[in-house]
Symmetry: C2
Subunit: 356 residues, 2 copies
């Protein structure tokens, strides 16, 4: 049976990526060896790293003066590395959910953390709009997509201070203006590859300004100088990311991804707004995530939750159970999820409505 | 042509591991999904993590009171995490090479680092034997195998303080007495799997004693409490490590590995001691690594270095070029390297001797 992969992360990858990793697990670049068992300093793997970095720059139109890194440790380690490298004494955070809150916690090691706004009052079901950023902060940190709560900041904000963005779950889903950001980071396991690689895009001249001594592995400048090879990178994960980047380019890049993602989101939110059995958890259309569509049973139909999950599961849908802090359902609709999977979900919702 | 993989790391893996990763890249545990695209919280991947941890405990006979973790960031991040978690004010390090020196550098963030002995005077070509460990240090740190310089501490030392060991390049190559250590760590990319996973074995009751606040991702207690799933682990890398652990168990475990490793080392060092064209760089037999056999052309034959490398390359041998700080050659002979590959190298050396 054809599976429809709605996992929130690690999550659906292109068939191309899976096929290429399967091949390279046995024979990589004609070496007769697995991609897992060749030196990261060998010319074959160096070519992988170089091409992956070049494709990130090409696909996101990264301006001069920025470095692209593939590190380890996920976004969670970036929560620490960002303030270690950028925060002198005071930083601002927009609190849009669990991941933003975790990022704020790590920043508190380094000075004062200003929460410029929070949507916690409504269980993070919206993106705060009007807030002031103090002029004296070292940066403003935003989380562009909130995997758990299904909200997304779908445009690049103009702010009067340095801007840092956790784009773990929506990078490459639309064109972005990298020049508006000073640092972007993203765990790979949504739109890029398997877990184990972390993408960082950083403006070189914002680094080295805190006066703080930084442990070697947490220092972006060390990784830049060593072209992401200060220590052994996660070679298989980076190889897999490269395959997805190639697939992205082959399929029209981020502009085309945005079109498809809008079509998928319109289809699913349209059904959620129409179908009397379901309610999306994010009321404002402009705040609704195109990557993670969160919804619950409508009032009076709560008891049907398990029955719908069973129906969807029987139709090959996996990963639809919502996060415990929201409940209900979450359909993650990353780049590699085809429109037909969203259609299958919508069809299941219509079928369920007809039954009840 | 059959390849003989002498890379120092990432390095040769069992055919079993490569085959299982290739299969799971397309269909993992009967899910119809790739191991790269399923949730780490799903029952299928949780079973992978649980089995990997259980097999580490079984194969190394890990006593009660120890936790086994799979983290990210390689040994290089452990250089930082060890002192962050264990060092109150003073720690002792045995300096046996480049990796030990890097570990010492990170420890200096946290207090006084005592170098109890160093073999730097002879380009790290021996393991210092007689040294005093100050009674008031928080731990002694050793590097059991020195990948670059070809030395190895092949027994478990008795020391009067806490003992921490970087076993990145010889873990699982012989039985060890885990009870003698308080913390063991190892990057996966030698005897365990691909890069991207880091194994840590830590005695629970040595943690939480420094009084220091530790950033979340650098705190072993956080990872223990969350069973290596505080954040998304490097799922493919851990899956691959599990396959190697299964292969290890199937092939007699670490006791059998030690026998084969001794046989391989005896064969290669025997030839190096016999053949007039080559000289091993480590003079003392008891210090010679069974994992990385370093050698150079004998005096008067230096000009033949490239010719021998070309001969070996023509016979399918890869990764034999020595590290720049030692020169000459390095044959890495990890668990998964078959005896026939060492025999092929020895045959090539004999053939080369016959030519000259």
């Amino acid at each position: 049976m054809k599976k429809h992969n709605f996992y929130a992360g690690p999550s659906v990858l292109p068939e191309y990526t899976k096929q290429k990793v399967a091949e390279a697990a046995l024979d990589f670049a004609g070496t007769g060896l697995s991609v897992m068992e060749v030196s990261h300093r060998g010319k074959e793997f160096v070519a992988v790293m170089d091409e992956a970095i070049a494709l990130v720059k090409e696909l996101l139109n990264v301006p001069e003066g920025y470095s692209v890194l593939f590190l380890q440790g996920g976004a969670s380690l970036q929560f620490l590395m960002v303030p270690y490298n950028l925060m002198k004494a005071k930083a601002a955070y927009l609190n849009t959910g669990a991941w933003a809150s975790k990022a704020m916690k790590e920043a508190q090691f380094f000075g004062e953390v200003v929460e410029v706004a929070s949507s916690k009052d409504k269980n993070f079901n919206y993106i705060p709009k009007s807030y002031e950023v103090p002029a004296d902060v070292d940066y403003l940190h935003i989380t562009t997509n909130n995997t758990i709560f299904g909200t997304e900041l779908k445009s690049d904000p103009d702010v009067p201070v340095r801007l840092v963005a956790d784009m773990s779950s929506d990078i490459f889903s639309r064109p972005i203006d990298v020049a508006k950001y000073d640092l972007i980071y993203a765990g790979a396991q949504k739109n890029l590859g398997p877990s184990g690689a972390t993408l960082v895009i950083v403006k070189d001249d914002v680094l080295g300004k805190t006066g703080r001594q930084i442990p070697t592995m947490l220092d972006y400048q060390i990784h830049i100088k060593n072209e992401s090879m200060f220590n052994t990178p996660s070679t298989v994960a980076v190889f897999a990311c490269l395959q997805t980047l190639k697939w992205l380019k082959e399929n029209g890049g981020v502009a085309e991804m945005e079109k498809v993602n809008i079509a998928k989101a319109d289809l699913l939110y349209g059904e959620l707004d129409r179908n009397k059995l379901f309610v999306p958890t994010v009321p404002a259309a402009e705040d609704r995530s195109r990557m993670n569509v969160t919804f619950v049973m409508a009032p009076g139909y709560e008891a049907l939750e398990k029955e719908f999950l069973d129906l969807a599961t029987a139709k090959g849908m996996v990963g639809l159970k919502g996060h415990r802090s929201v409940g209900g359902f979450r359909a993650s609709t990353y780049n590699a999820l085809p429109l037909e999977s969203v259609q299958a979900l919508v069809d299941a919702m219509k079928e369920f409505e007809a039954i009840h």
